[in-house]
Structures are given as structure tokens and as C-alpha cells.
Chain length 345, copies 2
């Protein structure tokens, strides 16, 4: 540890000043608090002279006053905040891009997207924590929230709740996305390619179960009654873990593997190749999410592509729902999962 | 579009109920609003009988009342919200993992991390928008905010502002991270390997300049006066764009490339190999960020590793700063960038 230049010495560090309020601005400008509020919130309906507006703005600047979104939300009864809980695991490339697009589209509609960090709370308890921020809309990208949680959010002022989950939730705009479909598609594809002893890679470590459990379950479901077997294969996201799995591969007697997503598929495929296992001759490999990087290994990786809504479509749905909170949830087709067959299967 | 089951028919859709307030809870429980506040905020210092507590909790549950974080923040003068602006581009794997760890560590300290969506505002104007949420601390992961922005945040009640940028910012806890170091390290490595005509891949499309511009600049700086040349190579994140660059490769006369990060390096390396260019014999390739997937191609990708702070260290720094807002910013060494030499260079 080395003292960095320009760091003020401890003795010179200023004590925090009190936070300026709109009352301070009003006092300095010689106007009422209501006038300050009208001017700084650009309430067009109220007539205030230009000199007064100027005086208020100068006073606000001099004091360093910024309007309080919380106070404004309390007055208006709602905010422009669209809340999304963050995922329980680091976001993958597919989801990061989706959030980025959604955020951009909502910003153009003058909403601010706030991603709310995971707090350890689940389902409707989590909904109560989100409600404390008084969002005008909430997008819940994982299953878990129920009608009770939706009701809590609506009572707290949210005009729209949008869920992305296998089944619609009462009171919410339901976008149906079932990760079991991903597993079903992958397993059916491998079965159609003549494979009968199928491993399913499940990420090791907590956080991803909400996606990986239905993907595993869907694989089992698709093969149920066919005589084909499903073997669960826990795998950490590291070369070492993949090498360890590859080392015990011959003892597993598998002829195919559906890996959680393309990243895990790439990791395992490379480790298998390093130990002399041939892909797809000895083992067929299928990933999921159709990542750009999945096309770089050889053989090219087969994958399951998920038809996520575009960020723009979803932003416009949120905006419609906010403008018309009494409208019934819009009907939507479930998002499908389709296999992109390349060379690895 | 198909009507989904369980969607209530439009006529049955309920009109939004008014949002219950703590006054409603007080009325129903037959107590004062202050009592409601004491009970629901678990203010331990105030003695309230168990039957009264129970009555308040039952009334709150019956009405579906949730405390208002905004109101609570207004009363307390600050929140438990730690705000981070989101990056101007979709987060890569390295950053997603860092945010996830930081969030988890702060949650254990009973803070909530809120990632604030990009609004098109820059620098100190952006700081003003963040201030409206009255965060107790702000972590700014890109350069741009100045002493003015830090002052605005502090006046709005933020007890700590932490910046991750090349130079310390007055009033903020400065973690120094200079992306130019990444470019410097990569270029110096390629020069030491005997390369003299060096291409630098820069992601095409807006959003990443805040990282890519200093990486390019650092490369130029490291080679200045050596006689080696630097050629800027814009590249979109797609196989097509990489194939197009590879197709005109021989005309460029380059013997090395530093790609923005490992993802771009993998994309370009594969495209070059497809057109018969040998790596590293004809072209040495270096990426950055040391991603797990970068080790899967052959030859194994050389990369620049950045020693980011751990999420836990950073969370504990934020917590110390919040508890002791008058303390001087802590001194920290700049985070270094070191080349991991594998097979591609």
C-alpha cells in the first residue's frame, strides 16, 4: 500500500455538509417551497415568471440541491423506475445483451431500469423488498413470484408486473419461457441422432438451479419411456473440473451429452478431445444459448436456440402496461427452443 | 398470438386499489403512526407491548402494507442502497462475475446493490441523476465523474463515492485502474516477441470506447519511438465481420494483433486460421481479460490479466467508508495488468 498522489491528508478531510433541501432553496430564492417544486419539476401547468424561475434555478445551483427522486415518487405516487431483480448467478452473454437492449429501449421511453441485487429473499418475500423501492413496473426474469407477490407490488404502486416463467401468474403480464423446453429439445435431438445413454451437464455451485434444474428435468421427460438413460453430470466452470470429468468418462458409458449451455459444452468438449474421445463419433455434444463463441471450436457446436423477446418489444409492452394499468394481461405465445444442428451431434 | 389459459378476461380485470399507507395501518390497529413505524422498522430502543406489536403486524398484513424505502430514506436521511451505474455496453464475463461477487458481499453486510441503467447522461450530469435515488454509497466503474459530481453525490447524502479510473478524483475513494496499461502490456509483449507491425482490434459499434480507446492508446504509447507501427482494426462481434477482416489480412502486412479482449481474439484467430494464416508463425495474437474460454482454442491464447479487486474487498471498503464518511480516501496501489504468455504469441 502506497500513498497515492492528490489524496487529501486526513486532517484536511472536510466534515460532511448537511444535505440541502428544497426549503433551503426556497429561503435563498425568497419564494415558497411549492414554487421551488413547480420550477424544478418543470410543472408546465403552473404560471411562474421567468425571473422567478431563474432565481430558483440559481439558488438550487448555488446550494448544490438535487431533487429527491424518493420525495418526488412519494408526491406522484409512482416513479419512472422499472425494477428487475438480478439473476442469482453471474449473467451469461445472452442475458447481458438482453438486459442491455431492454435498458436502452426503456431509457428512450424515459424510464430508468434498476437492477435490484439478490438479497437472499425468495418469491413473494423478495417482491416485498422490491416494493419498497416503489417501482412503476417490475420485470421478473425467473419463476418464483406468485399471485401474492404480484398483489403486493401492485398495492405498492407498480402499474405492471411482467413475469418470464413457464406458467402465467395471476395479475401479471405473462411471457412464457420454460427452460424445460430447452432440455426437451436437446434430448429429443440426441435421441433422433441414435444416442441412448445421455449425460446432462449441470453447473456446480449454487445459483444456476433455477435454469439448470428444468433443463435437466426436460431432458428426463423427453426420454421417459424410450429406454434411453439420463445421467446427471455436475461440472464446475473450470478447465480442471472438465479434465476430471473427462478422465472418468470411459467408465460412464455415455454416447451423448447435453451441456447446460454453450460455455459448459465448449469446456467439456475440449477436455474430452484432449483425452482422445472423438466428437461426435464417440460422443455427441449439444450446448444451449447459441453463443457466437460456440461456433469457433471444431467440430462446430450444435446448440439449442431460445427465441427470447427483443429488449425493444419488451420495453414497449412495459410502457403499454404502465399507461393502462387496468388492461388485462396481453396474451403471448410461449418462447420456443429449437435445435441448431451443426457438427458436434 | 394465442390467448393463454388463466388470463383473466378484460371485463374481470380489477381496477387498481389505492396504495395503503402507514396511516391506514395505524387506523386499523388503533395506534399512532409513530407506533406503526417503530414496530415495522424494528426500532429496538422503543418499548412497545407484544399485543400492540402483534396488532400492528396483523393490520399491515391485512392491508398488504409494505414500508416505503423512499419514505424511510427520507426520514433516515440515507438508504442502504449502494448504486452502481451500469456499463455503456453489455457486461463481459469478467465484469459480470465481479458485480455478482460485489453484490453478494454487500448483501451480507445488509446493503442492496442497485445497478442504475444508462440514461444517456455523462459525467457529473449522470451523477445528478444517481443522486436522486439518494444512495448511501456509489461505485463508479468507469472514468468520467469529476470532483463536481462527487460533491453533488455527497451533498445528496452519499457517504462514500468509490471510483475505478486511471486518476484519483478529489473527494472519492480512488481505485486506480487504467485500461491503457492493458494496451501497454500487450504491445510491449508483442514487441519483445520480435513483432513490429501490430494491429489493434477495436470493437465496432458504440459503447465500448471507454475501455477500447485507452487500450489502443496504451499500445501506441508503448511502441512510440520504437519504429514499430500500430494499425487500428475495427471489428464487429460476429463471424462475418471476422471473416471479412481475415479476407483482407494479407494486404495489411501485419505480423501481430492485440485484440480488445479474449472474445474478439478468439473470433479473429479462428477466422485467420480458416484462411490459412498460421498463428503464431505468421501472426502473433494476444487477447485480454484471461477468460476461461480463451484457453480452449489451439494454439492456446495469450492474454493480459487484470488484477481487479475482489468483490469482497470492495464491499468491505464501501462499508468502512459508509461508517466513517469523514475519513480520508484510503490509498491503494493501481491494479496491474500482466501478460499471460501461452501459445498464440
Amino acid at each position: 500500500m502506497v500513498q497515492i498522489p492528490n489524496t487529501p491528508a486526513p486532517t484536511k478531510s472536510p466534515a460532511p455538509r448537511p444535505v440541502p433541501t428544497s426549503a433551503d432553496v426556497a429561503r435563498l430564492a425568497g419564494v415558497s417551497r411549492a414554487t421551488v417544486s413547480y420550477v424544478l419539476n418543470n410543472a408546465g401547468a403552473v404560471r411562474i415568471s421567468e425571473p422567478t424561475r431563474l432565481r430558483v434555478r440559481q439558488a438550487a445551483e448555488e446550494l448544490g440541491y438535487v431533487p429527491h427522486a424518493a420525495a418526488r415518487a412519494l408526491r406522484a405516487g409512482h416513479s419512472r423506475v422499472v425494477l428487475m431483480p438480478t439473476l442469482p448467478a453471474p449473467a451469461g452473454p445472452l442475458y447481458s445483451q438482453f438486459v442491455h437492449d431492454f435498458q436502452g429501449a426503456l431509457a428512450r421511453l424515459e424510464y430508468t431500469v434498476v437492477q435490484y441485487g439478490a438479497t437472499g429473499l425468495c418469491g413473494d418475500d423478495a417482491a416485498r423488498a422490491w416494493a419498497e423501492l416503489r417501482p412503476v413496473a417490475v420485470l421478473v426474469p425467473t419463476p418464483g413470484i406468485g399471485p401474492e407477490g404480484v398483489a403486493v407490488l401492485k398495492r405498492s404502486g407498480a402499474r405492471a408486473v411482467v413475469t418470464l416463467s413457464p406458467a402465467p401468474v395471476e395479475g401479471a403480464h405473462a411471457l412464457r419461457l420454460d427452460h424445460a423446453d430447452v432440455g426437451r429439445s436437446a434430448a429429443a435431438h440426441l435421441y433422433a441422432r441414435g444416442r441412448r445413454r445421455i449425460g446432462v451437464v449441470v453447473p456446480e455451485g449454487r445459483g444456476m438451479e433455477v435454469f439448470s434444474a428444468p433443463r435437466l428435468h426436460g431432458s428426463r421427460e423427453a426420454l421417459s419411456g424410450t429406454g434411453a438413460t439420463v445421467t446427471e453430470l455436475p461440472l464446475a466452470y473450470s478447465e480442471e473440473s472438465a479434465a476430471a470429468l473427462a478422465a472418468r468418462w470411459s467408465g460412464l458409458g455415455l454416447d451423448a451429452v447435453f451441456a447446460y449451455n454453450d460455455e459448459y459444452a465448449m469446456l467439456l468438449m475440449r477436455a474430452l478431445q484432449e483425452t482422445g474421445v472423438r466428437v461426435p463419433e464417440d460422443v455427441a455434444v449439444v450446448g444451449a444459448d447459441d453463443l457466437v463463441l460456440g461456433r469457433l471450436l471444431r467440430p462446430r457446436l450444435s446448440t439449442v436456440r431460445i427465441a427470447l423477446p427483443s429488449g425493444r418489444e419488451l420495453a414497449s409492452l412495459v410502457d403499454r402496461a404502465v399507461r393502462n394499468p387496468a388492461a388485462a394481461p396481453e396474451p403471448h405465445e410461449p418462447f420456443g427452443a429449437t435445435v441448431v444442428h451443426r457438427e458436434s451431434s
